[in-house]
Symmetry: C2
Subunit: 411 residues, 2 copies
C-alpha cells in the first residue's frame, strides 16, 4: 500500500463534469488500496476572475487582502471534490492551507512554505479518508492567509509529499507527459518515460511549460519522485527522479525552444573591469530579466557584449542601451527581435564529447546560421533566426534519433 | 468615540459599485472618529450559486463540505471591501470566521456561536484599523469551518457587538427601518423611531422580514442596541432596544400580516386527553410547522380542533388529517387555503384593555368576518379571508392612528 499525492490543475477541475471525472479516478485509486492526498487548483479562469474584481477596485490591491480573495478559488474546488467523493461512498475531507496547516512566510502573493504540520493529515489518513487539500495557499505565523503565487499548487503537492514521505507525487495536467520536444513542431516527438530533475529544470525554464520550476527544485531537494500524467487519458506519464536511480540515461533527453527572445548587442565597448555591470545594471533596475549573456574576447581595447531578453522588453532595453552606450563611449547598439533559442538538454552530455559538434553540423546542413551559442553542464543553446525554428528543431530531433528509443547508457 | 458594529447584507455588497459605496460610508464613519467593525454577507445570489454547484454534485451534499464551500462567499466580500478601504487610505483588515475566531458548535449548516475570541480584534482596533469580518461563518473546536444558516450574518454582527460591548449594532439593509406596517399595503405607514426587542420578534415572525429572528433574540439576551437602517439612503432608521430604556411607548407599534397561511379543522373530535397530540403528532413528524392552534370548549362529548400551516403544506396536511380523522372517529375534516393572518403588536397592550375590542369593531365595520382569533401578551392575531387583507390592514392602521405620531405613555 503506497502513499500517493495527486495534484489536479485548473483545467482538470474546470467544470462540475470534470470534477466528477477526477472523483471517479480518485475513488478508484482509493479502492485499489492506496492512501491518497489530493491537491487541487482553482477552476480554470476563477483566479483571473477574482483578480479582475480586485483590480477593478484598486489596480494595486492590498497584498494581504488579495490573498484572502484568491484563496477562495481552491476552497471551492476542494469542497466540491470532497462532496463528489463522499457521494461515491469514498470517505473524504477537505483542508484549506490554514487548516493543514501549511506554514509560510508573510510574503503575500508569493509566499514560501516554511513548514507543514502533517499530524492532523496523518490521523485522517489512518482513518481511511482521502484528504483533499487546497493548493497554492497557506498561513503565516500570525494566521494571515497567504498564497504561493501562480502555479503554486504544484509546490503544495510536492511539499506535502516531502512532509509525509509519500511514495510518489503525481501531477495531473492536460498533457500526458514530458516529450522530447513540442509535438506540434515535431509530430514524431516521443514521450519520455523518465527524466532527471536537472533535465526537467532545463526543459521547463526553456519553455516546455509542463511543471512549475519551483516545484521541480523542491522535489529535487527532498528527492520526491514526481510523475507528470494526463487527467484525461490513461497512461503512465513521465517519471522525474534523481539521476542515481539506476535509470537508463539517454544522451539527449529533449529539445526545448523559446520563441519569445530578442537579442541586443552593444558594440565597441571599452574592455575594462565593471563594464558588464554598467551595461546590465540599468536593465536589472528596470525589472527586466536577462536570459543568455555572451561576451567574446576583446579585439584591441574594445569588445562586443550581447544578451537576450523577452521580446516584450525589446524596445525598452534598446532605449536603455542607447543611454549606456553614450556613457561608455561605445561604438554602436544593434538588436534583433526576430530570433529564437533552441536548446539540447540531457544529463548524458556531461560525459560525451561531440554533442555540440553534432548539433552544429545538423544545423549547418540545413543552412541555418547560428547567431549565439551558450552552454552549461547539461545543455547547449543556440540562437537562430525565427524563421528557422521548426526546421532546426526537426533537424536536431532526427540527428539525435529522438523519435525512436534513443541510444542509452547506464546513468 | 463609540464602538460601532455595522452589518451590510447581500444586496448592499451586491456589486463592485455597491461595495465602493459601502466603503465610502465606512471610511466616513471611521474618519468621524468611531471604532468600527464591519460584518458582511456574500454578494446577492452568490450563496445560491454555490448551493446549486453543490446540489448538482449531490442533492444531499456532505454538510461539512457544504460549509467549506458556502463560506467562500463572505470571504470574497470582506477581501474586496478591505481593499476598497485601504485604497481610500482607511486602514482595514479582513477576518474570516476562523480567523476571529468565532467558535461554534459542530452543527454544520446551522451552527450556533458558543464563544468569540475578541483579543485579536481589540488589538487591531487599538491600532486604528477598521475590522471587516465575514458574517454567517465560524469554526468548531476541531477547526472545521461552520456556517450559521441563512441570515446568520445578522447574528454574527450582534454576537460581535455583545463580545466587544459595542455601543450599537447597525444592520444596513434595503429598507430604511421598521414600519408600522408594509408601506406597499398602507402608503401612510410610518417608520418607527424605536421598538422593543419583543415587538420586533413578533413583527419579524409574523412576516415583516427585516431582521433575522435569532439575531433579535441574541441582541435582547445581551442587551445590544440594534439599529435597522438603509445602506442606500440617509436616515436614523429604527432603534431596537429593551423596554426599560425610558422610551415613550406606543400602545400599538405595528400591524404585521402573513399571506402564506392555510387553515385546517378537524370536526367532531372526541373530547379526550391526548387528542391534540394524536392530531399534531403526525403533522410534526412530517416536518411541517404549525402556526396558530385554536381549540374551543367541547359541546357534549366532541370538540373542533383548528390550526394553521404554511400554504405550501396545505395538501400534505389535509391528507394526513383524513387518516387521523378515521383513526379518531372524528366527523369531518375541512380546510381553507385562501386565508391570511393579521396581527396587532405592541408592548403597550399589556396594560391597556380594549385593544382587542377596538380591533374587532374596526374589522366588523368593514364587514370582515373573523375566522380565528389568538392572543399573546403583546399581540392579537386574527385570521380572515385572503381578499380582506388590504382592507383589514388599512382599517386597523386608521383605527389605531398609526399614520400620525401615535398616542403614547411612559414605558
Amino acid at each position: 500500500m503506497a502513499l500517493i499525492v495527486q495534484k489536479y490543475g485548473g483545467t482538470s477541475v474546470g467544470s462540475l463534469e470534470r470534477i466528477s471525472r477526477v472523483a471517479d479516478k480518485v475513488a478508484a485509486a482509493s479502492a485499489a488500496g492506496d492512501d491518497l492526498i489530493v491537491v487541487l487548483s482553482a477552476m480554470t479562469g476563477e483566479t483571473d476572475r477574482l483578480l479582475t474584481l480586485a483590480k477593478t477596485i484598486d489596480p494595486q490591491p492590498n497584498p494581504r487582502e488579495l490573498d484572502v480573495l484568491l484563496s477562495t478559488g481552491e476552497q471551492v474546488t476542494i469542497a466540491l471534490l470532497s462532496m463528489a467523493l463522499e457521494k461515491r461512498g469514498c470517505p473524504a475531507r477537505s483542508y484549506t492551507g490554514g487548516q493543514v496547516r501549511i506554514l509560510t512566510d508573510s510574503a503575500f502573493n508569493k509566499a514560501r512554505i516554511t513548514d507543514i504540520d502533517a499530524e492532523r493529515l496523518r490521523n485522517d489518513l489512518s482513518c481511511g479518508r482521502v484528504l483533499v487539500v487546497a493548493g497554492f495557499q497557506g498561513v503565516d505565523e500570525a494566521g494571515n492567509i497567504t498564497t504561493l503565487g501562480r502555479g503554486g499548487s504544484d509546490t503544495t503537492a510536492v511539499a506535502l509529499a516531502a512532509a509525509l514521505k509519500a511514495d510518489e507525487c503525481q501531477i495531473y495536467t492536460d498533457v500526458d507527459g514530458v516529450y522530447t520536444t513540442d509535438p506540434r513542431v515535431v509530430p514524431q516527438a516521443r514521450r519520455l518515460d523518465r527524466i532527471t530533475y536537472e533535465e526537467m529544470l532545463e526543459m521547463a525554464s526553456l519553455g516546455a511549460k509542463v511543471l512549475q520550476i519551483r516545484s521541480v527544485e523542491f522535489a529535487s531537494k527532498y528527492n520526491v519522485p514526481l510523475r507528470v500524467l494526463s487527467s484525461f487519458t490513461e497512461g503512465a506519464g513521465t517519471l522525474i527522479t534523481s539521476e542515481e536511480d539506476g535509470m537508463e540515461q539517454a544522451l539527449i533527453s529533449g529539445i526545448a525552444f523559446n520563441r519569445d527572445e530578442a537579442k541586443l548587442t552593444i558594440l565597441g565597448v571599452p574592455d575594462q573591469p565593471g563594464v558588464a555591470y554598467r551595461i546590465l545594471g540599468p536593465v536589472a533596475e528596470a525589472n527586466i530579466e536577462v536570459d543568455m549573456i555572451v561576451q567574446n574576447i576583446a579585439e584591441d581595447t574594445t569588445t562586443d557584449f550581447t544578451f537576450t531578453v523577452h521580446r516584450n522588453d525589446y524596445d525598452k532595453v534598446l532605449q536603455i542601451l542607447h543611454g549606456v552606450a553614450r556613457d561608455l563611449g561605445a561604438r554602436e547598439v544593434t538588436g534583433d527581435n526576430k530570433i529564437v533559442k533552441i536548446s539540447l538538454v540531457g544529463v548524458g552530455m556531461r560525459s560525451h564529447a561531440g554533442i555540440a559538434s553534432t548539433m552544429f553540423r545538423a544545423l549547418a546542413e540545413e543552412g541555418i546560421n547560428i547567431r549565439m551559442i551558450s552552454t552549461s553542464e547539461i545543455k547547449v543553446s543556440v540562437v537562430v533566426d525565427e524563421k528557422y525554428l521548426e526546421l532546426g528543431v526537426r533537424a536536431l530531433h532526427v540527428a539525435f534519433q529522438l523519435e525512436a528509443a534513443a541510444p542509452s547508457k547506464n546513468g
